[in-house]
């Protein structure tokens, strides 16, 4: 394999050769792992700096504005300016706060998101570590994010913060249910939880085999990151700023960065689980192309998240919970059962792909009719007023 085909592997081979001749094997292995960790983790953090600029630019376009355009060309350096601002702001810890939990919570929120990147396959052979429980690991790591929110809200000793944390946790754990159930559909299709196998098994992208599951995953992910229309956790008209009301300076910045990174991570996960990850023409020979494919596919998911965000208004809390428990959860359970039965019936059969597709369409149609019947029933209960004559200008 030449240097131009796969520069990263070539460089890492060079470094590891050097280390293994210099140090005992265990130490060399440890240092190589450490280097890998630093590379993967800083990739995640560097991308967030760029992402904040991208998101602000695109959000501005949606709202017919220009967006940041002062700091650097096209406002590219805006994020650095913001970072300098946050670093020089006073860090206020309220007197009544529980200092230990108050300080750990923002760090934990970043760690929870960053840990997902350890199992992201960037290209053939480029992966932090290919755990055999990859998908479940991602779900498990998410629970630290929930914990950090609860810690932040409780330790602030502020009514708004605690109420915001309670709401946030109620939303996150609710939407975790359909998300976990839909995560099982790609696992079932790939017969494994390893992230690399997941990508390798997608000769047919899973979005073709399970389109409805892909949509459920995206919707529940938007709820998990708390973007509009699911931004009840920071509904500023009701609970000030939610769980991070009392945070200032860099600690607030960390919550903010974690949220942006999480949004893009969702795009990456969507690309890996449903859009074939790094797959694409020439990716096996030139791994660098695979990274580009992955990032392009991730941008699709990320753009949809932003699009939804700037289009839809915030929904009410009862609507948010009803959507989850009465629509997404039963639908994802039905899809899981459907996928399991169809996969077993048409195992090793050419009819597998069309059967799965037709099954998805049938589930979609049936749920549409159930929803329509249900909405008819509720519209009868709705209070309606008599039509009144419109006042005419004299």
């Amino acid at each position: 394999m030449s240097f131009f085909q796969d520069p990263v592997s070539a460089i890492s081979a060079l470094i590891s050769n050097f280390l293994y001749t210099l140090l005992p094997q265990a130490w060399a292995h440890l240092i190589m792992t450490l280097l890998g960790v630093v590379v993967v983790a800083s990739f995640g953090l560097i991308i967030v700096i760029f992402l904040i600029w991208v998101e602000r630019k695109i959000a501005a376009r949606f709202q017919d504005r220009v967006g940041p355009n002062r700091a650097g060309p096209y406002g590219l350096l805006q994020t650095f300016a913001d970072m300098v601002k946050l670093l020089t702001k006073e860090d206020v810890i309220p007197e009544k706060a529980d200092r230990l939990a108050f300080n750990i919570a923002p760090i934990l929120s970043v760690v929870a998101v960053l840990l997902i990147w350890a199992v992201i396959p960037f290209a053939p052979g480029w992966i932090g570590t290919d755990l055999n429980v990859g998908v479940l690991y991602i779900a498990a790591v998410g629970s630290f994010g929930i914990l950090s929110i609860l810690m932040a809200g409780w330790s602030s000793n502020n009514k708004y913060a605690l109420l915001g944390a309670f709401r946030a946790v109620a939303q996150l754990i609710s939407y975790e249910v359909p998300m976990l159930i839909t995560l099982m559909v790609p696992v079932l299709l790939a017969r494994g939880m390893g992230m690399m196998d997941m990508v390798r098994d997608q000769a047919v992208w899973f979005i073709v085999l399970a389109p409805v599951s892909a949509i459920i995953f995206l919707v529940s992910s938007i709820a998990e990151i708390g973007r509009t229309p699911f931004d009840l956790l920071e509904a500023e008209s009701e609970i000030v700023a939610g769980y991070h009301t009392e945070y200032t300076g860099m600690k607030f910045g960390l919550f903010f960065a974690a949220e942006f990174l999480h949004a893009f991570t969702i795009g990456v996960l969507f690309a890996i689980l449903f859009l074939g990850g790094w797959r694409g023409p020439g990716a096996e020979e030139f791994p660098l192309l695979g990274v580009i494919y992955l990032m392009l596919k991730a941008s699709v998911g990320y753009f949809i998240v932003m699009w939804v965000r700037s289009t839809l208004p915030r929904i009410r809390i009862d609507q948010m919970l009803a959507l989850n428990w009465k629509f997404l959860t039963p639908l994802s359970l039905a899809l899981l059962i459907l996928t399991a039965i169809v996969e077993k019936t048409f195992e090793g059969n050419a009819w597998r792909v069309p059967a799965l597709l037709i099954g998805n369409v049938i589930v979609l149609i049936v749920s549409y009719y159930i929803m329509r019947a249900a909405s008819r029933r509720t519209s009868k209960e709705r209070v309606t007023f008599k039509k009144r004559p419109v006042a005419k200008p004299a």
Binding site: H29, T33, L34, G36, S42, L45, M83, E90, D91, V92, I93, E95, K96, I107, V110, V111, L115, A118, G128, T129, D130, L131, N132, Y137, A139, S156, N157, N158, K159, L162, L163, A170, I173, S174, E176, V177, L180, I181, V187, L188, R191, M193, V240, T245, E246, G249, M250, K251, L321, A322, W325, K326, T329, P330, L333, L336, I337, A340, K344, T345
Partner: protein, 118 residues
Amino acid sequence: MQNTWLFIGIFIAIAGVFPLLPIVIARFLAPHKPNPIKLETYECGMETVGDTWVQFKVQYYIYALVFLVFDIEIAFLFPWAVAFDALPFFAVLEGVIFILILAGGLLYAWKKGALEWS
């Protein structure tokens, strides 16, 4: 197998250091001028009335409860999904029955109005 987990272990340590760094830097750069009013609990400028420990709705607990039950269900079903190739058809049906029993729990909660907010 533990080598793949070594990476995660080091990752947790490094991922903790990365966000710690800006906080430490900010400690040197940022001003530090506390005063009693600044350190007060934020409540739109007014003084806080009463305790933060206001009573919360039981509804929050009920959502967490349903979540817990489904979480366990997932833990049981993931190995089932991984072993899918080796399973005969009736073993797949056993998994489906498992899902249906818990779907019955969801249905019960729904019918009793436990999922209603208010």
